[in-house]
Subunit: 390 residues, 2 copies
């Protein structure tokens, strides 16, 4: 565990994120797979890809489970071993971890990992209900709390403990919409002002409309292989050098703290140690901004600042493109969108673009080391991965 | 790939199968985990188990997803990386495969894999609807076909191609209920007669009530480790020497054949080759008898007889306890029950009992090599594993 590549990313694909009317999830996943194949003409998918792990959070949206086999078929990988992973909004972060195991196992040289969700054809009430299945049924859902409420509890606790303000939260939204305005695949490609964010309607105080991520259709995938095979497929691989995953109680009410996520801290520690990287070595990160407070807590859990320093960090501009450590250059869940099962590998997709110099207007200069941070539910799952330019 | 152990099973647990009123899935999984821990006092679960993969087919039953983290907590494994795998009724067969990758990866020495489903609190109509999510929505579910209908199509095709009879189908049920009568954890522990089976009411011709598996609550788990560590935990490990998994089109209508499942044949070929074992070397098997026709087709896909020979094989008595190759000594899905997500590792549990001489009245004498065959949906997923007594 010394920073050696675990696996290498040789290609990546992402569908447009947004309202993709008239497409089934399988068709959206096929779009992501096609981009990955088109980027990597030396790869023969049917011959080279030996397994598929695909994250999907909910079968209720399309009345469709058995997602692994379905996506394998629609990605041109008929007969490959194909398994859906589910860990709420970290479903494809967990797929990535499972895929890393598969490559390291020696049983599969090259593996596709990805994720997909089709959400926008459902009403907001239905989506809210389906998402709530990632929280604790008997003690949370049953009592009527949904995810905006759970993250509002974290936000008020953070405000109480550290003096974090509504403005700090809004600054996350302003930054991520700025980044998203430069991402042609983002669901919302326009900047917002601090005033707009602060005056948007309250969803669950202190969280307002612009503090919440989006309901989105989308799919993402990356193709990973053994590091020694990477150059067979591409001249510009990206190495994954650290991987951490951890769990916590599904119910927020059972946690020691509301201002930090223990699973994220454990996963980050594992990933940093494996990568032989420290927080200060990270050049850019994609973090799980399902709500703005989650990005602030992520800064702290990942060691980008001290506990309680997240609000000040976003206010400083250091996490904005051009700053010391740009976070969510893709626009994040907030502006790029949050097709829940697809989010984990969509973060990896952005890291692939950035570390191969393909991020266009939102390119971070001279980036060497990147990090992704993907949460499930209110933090009962966390997956953290560290990437290095080859 | 020469028959060397991939991983070793050092313990296993199974809840009672049946109608477990008043228990949540998490509580049922805890019962399975407790049995596994009690069997293996040298193992310190919290310290030794480094990951959990848990199969669960549907979050609709309990309105509860995020199953990996939840089951980790209730199994006393808080903070372990925990992921739900879903591949319809092969969800825990896929969990086993994912767990094997994890152990072989070198990142996790010892892993728990298992599965769980809580079904009986729902109406039969609800269960039928939830199960149908494992078939193709736009072309199967939407047109009203459910799983009994899909397997009835396979049965009529098999009858047409090979002269398989309703009696052959019923003989599978009679055998498996005989086996189940000796399994204190089976949902139905009583024998049935051929006449009872043949005269039971038609569900989807030629499948009658006794041709269909059960709606069941239950959980299962096994603990796997590196072969070189197995003796640290137990004097009687069971080695897994072959693993195969494959996928197929989710829709039956897209397949070349209705009388054989290509995914099962591919998975079996992989597992046999890895294990350096031939079908005739197998001493006992647990196969996926979701419907009686599925067991007959499994005989053929696994090479226990020639295509079309399945009916005659069950009639010969060779697959009954005492015969040459006992199949489904646990009672199978037919009599032990079919808590869908739990079935794959429940098969592995039976194999563990049999190959360590703990199967009591249903013990197969001098068994050395066993096989499990776990299907998802109408065969879009298949997982096959080969086991050897240590």
């Amino acid at each position: 565990m010394n920073g050696k590549p675990l696996v290498s990313i040789v290609s990546a694909g992402l569908s447009k994120f947004g309202k993709l009317e008239g497409l089934y999830a399988r068709e959206i996943f096929a779009l992501a797979a096609k981009e990955a194949y088109d980027r990597c003409p030396k790869l023969n998918p049917k011959k080279d890809i030996k397994a598929l792990f695909v994250g999907q959070m909910g079968e209720s949206y399309e009345h469709q489970g058995h997602t692994g086999a379905t996506m394998a078929d629609w990605a041109g990988l008929l007969h490959v071993p194909a398994t859906r992973t589910e860990a709420a909004c970290a479903s494809s972060g967990a797929a990535l971890r499972a895929g890393i195991y598969a490559v390291l196992s020696g049983l599969c040289d090259t593996v596709m990992v990805g994720g997909v969700e089709k959400m926008t054809h459902r009403s907001t009430a239905e989506v809210t209900e389906y998402l709530a299945m990632a929280s604790d049924y008997p003690f949370e859902q049953w009592n009527g709390i949904t995810f905006p409420g759970l993250f509002a509890l974290m936000a008020t606790a953070h405000m109480n403990a550290y003096g974090t303000t509504e403005k700090d939260l809004s600054m996350v939204a302003v930054k991520n919409h700025y980044h998203g305005s430069m991402n042609p695949k983002a669901q919302i490609q326009k900047e917002i002002t601090l005033e707009q964010a602060l005056s948007s309607r309250v969803v669950a105080w202190p969280l307002k409309l612009y503090d919440c991520s989006l309901i989105t259709d989308g799919a993402s995938c990356i193709i990973i292989t053994k590091p020694e095979l990477a150059r067979k497929y591409t001249d510009t691989p990206v190495h994954i050098i650290g991987s951490g995953q951890a769990s916590d109680t599904i119910g927020l009410y059972e946690r020691e703290s509301f201002t930090s996520l223990k699973a994220a801290k454990i996963a980050a520690k594992q990933a940093y140690e494996m990568a032989a990287v420290k927080p200060e070595d990270v050049d850019l990160a994609e973090v799980h901004d399902c709500f703005t407070i989650a990005e602030i807590i992520a800064y702290e859990d990942l060691g980008f600042c001290k506990p309680g320093g997240g609000g000040k960090l976003v206010e400083s501009g250091e996490t904005r493109l051009g700053g010391r450590l740009p976070v969510n250059t893709s626009g994040g869940l907030k502006s790029k969108g949050h097709p829940v099962g697809a989010t984990g590998t969509a973060q990896a997709y952005e890291m692939y673009l950035q570390l191969t110099g393909q991020a266009d207007k939102r390119q971070v200069r001279d980036a060497e080391v990147g990090l992704t941070h993907n949460l499930g539910g209110s933090g009962a799952t966390a997956a953290v991965h560290v990437y290095r330019r080859a």
